[in-house]
Point group: C2
């Protein structure tokens, strides 16, 4: 069959590689959310992209969409069993990311010397 993947990593990224997908997973790990709740939880996403990524995750069998068919609309998103199994595999990596979030933030900042609206200390370095 020769899977299109060289290692398990890009297999996972093929399904997690959207800009907001990790956040979506993260929030849905904690329970079912309505669309609007999820959007507010994620932050400053555009509707278009959020919907789009939710559709992909849904098509990939990772999230479940329950439409109550009401007017005004009410739609709830949650993880499927597959999604929950993925979520379990992610916790270790997530913890690593949290443990090293300072380093990673520094790395990200180094790449974006653009805006840093923090006139706090560390302001006269460089």
């Amino acid at each position: 069959m020769a899977s299109p993947f060289t290692c398990g990593l890009d297999a996972v990224l093929s399904v997690m590689g959207g800009k907001w997908k990790p956040l979506i997973l993260y929030h849905l790990m904690r329970g079912t959310l309505r669309y609007g709740e999820l959007r507010r939880a994620v932050g400053k996403v555009s509707d278009k992209v959020l919907i789009q990524q939710l559709k992909e995750l849904q098509a990939d069998g990772i999230v479940h969409r329950r439409d109550h068919g009401e007017i005004p609309p009410k739609v709830e998103y949650s993880l499927t069993d597959f999604g929950r199994s993925l979520a379990r595999a992610l916790v270790q990596l997530c913890q690593w990311g949290e443990q090293h979030s300072d380093d990673l933030a520094a790395i990200a900042a180094r790449r974006t010397p653009a805006e840093e609206p923090e006139p706090s200390a560390t302001a006269r370095a460089r």
Copy 2:
């Protein structure tokens, strides 16, 4: 400080999010490689992008670049300690990806009904 990340996942993806970075990590996990070896191991990457992603990983302190200063050039890439710690956090996810690689391949195929140059069996499905 309010790190720019909501959860550890996008923190990690901020550093792993390139098209070939997981592959690079995967191959360097197994040991030091010269540039050409790495390129052949990764497959059909363009030099430009490989170099570019190696530079980013290097700038992010994940890979180490050793230039032997010889002519013709000889450059070896390997993981730093930081990179190895990331790699350890990745193994679980990598295993999940391998265990479910069939599902994930099916998912990927579903999204790309374009080319499947396999005139083998399973050819008259659909």
